[in-house]
Amino acid sequence: MMDRREPLHRIKSRRDSALSALVGGVPYLAWLGIRFDRRGDELTAILPYDEKLIGNPLLPALHGGVTAAFLETAAIIELAWTAMWEDMESGRTVPDAAMMISPPRLPKTIDITVDYLRSGLPRDAYARARVVRSGRRYASVQVEAWQDNRARLLAQATGHFLIPQG
């Protein structure tokens, strides 16, 4: 049951620590510099520009593999976050980064198809994912990435994921 009178700082700290428990335990995300912005339950993945992300030094343009990694990460975190939300808000399970012995298990990618729509500029990139369908074992997730302009997509992807059991 939602508690209407629950103090705001407690709600925010519960949600933020659950999110950092998902993201914080993955070395590769820290190496790429990926972080997440949260507004209520809406997540936006952020990839701050860095020289090591460049794939074409002449243009210059972001590496296609970086774009793929960014989309895949946004999809995985969104899926894990969506799955966790109900339990978290009803107070059943609250993963907490500070209390964590081992990080929560993340969904495993079965396949991902990335559609490259523009070459990536040497600037920050953003991504939002949407869980199209999530069953008990499999999920289908759609994800879009952009840079300066939300309507001008850098890339989009559809991925299928295996949901961790137990």
């Binding site: 590769y28 090591k52 990694a69 990460t73 198809t113 490259y116």
Partner: protein, 146 residues
């Protein structure tokens, strides 16, 4: 293959290695060109702690495999005998069959199996040291600039 053929082959591989090292992200991942043929490429990279996507098993993140496959596919297009001036990824699908074993080198092999004036079709496979059991497979379409 003749001695001359071998010399030319290693020369081409050396040029490809320089090409790879000019790509900041490929350099950051420690990629190495192992072989280059007519429309084919083999590129490998070492396992590293900071590339791990699953701390429980030490398996590298799928994105690392994507970056290696994408680079290797692009190299296969560039190595096509029709001599494309440049290439970019249109789309890339990756199937992950299993996690790459912790501590083992990952090797991608790509083949440009068809090319038109403006599009190259490529498939690739990623392996760790257990070469009988692929880690991932990819298929993609790439632009061809003439």
């Amino acid at each position: 293959m003749t001695e001359d053929g071998k010399a030319m082959d290693s020369d081409q591989t050396r040029i490809a290695q320089q090409f790879i090292e000019a790509i900041p992200h490929a350099r950051a991942l420690g990629m190495r060109v192992d072989a280059l043929g007519a429309g084919s490429a083999t590129i490998s990279m070492p396992w590293a702690e900071h590339l791990v996507g699953d701390p429980r098993s030490g398996v590298v993140h799928g994105g690392v495999v994507s970056a290696l496959m994408d680079t290797c596919c692009g190299a296969a297009v560039m190595a096509h005998p029709s001599g494309p001036a440049s290439t970019a990824t249109i789309d890339l699908r990756i199937d992950y069959m299993r996690g790459a074993t912790k501590g083992q080198r990952i090797t991608a092999r790509a083949e440009c199996y068809h090319i038109t004036r403006s599009v190259a079709f490529v498939r690739a496979v990623a392996l760790d040291e257990n070469t009988d059991n692929p880690v991932a497979a990819a298929t993609g379409a790439f632009t061809v600039e003439r």
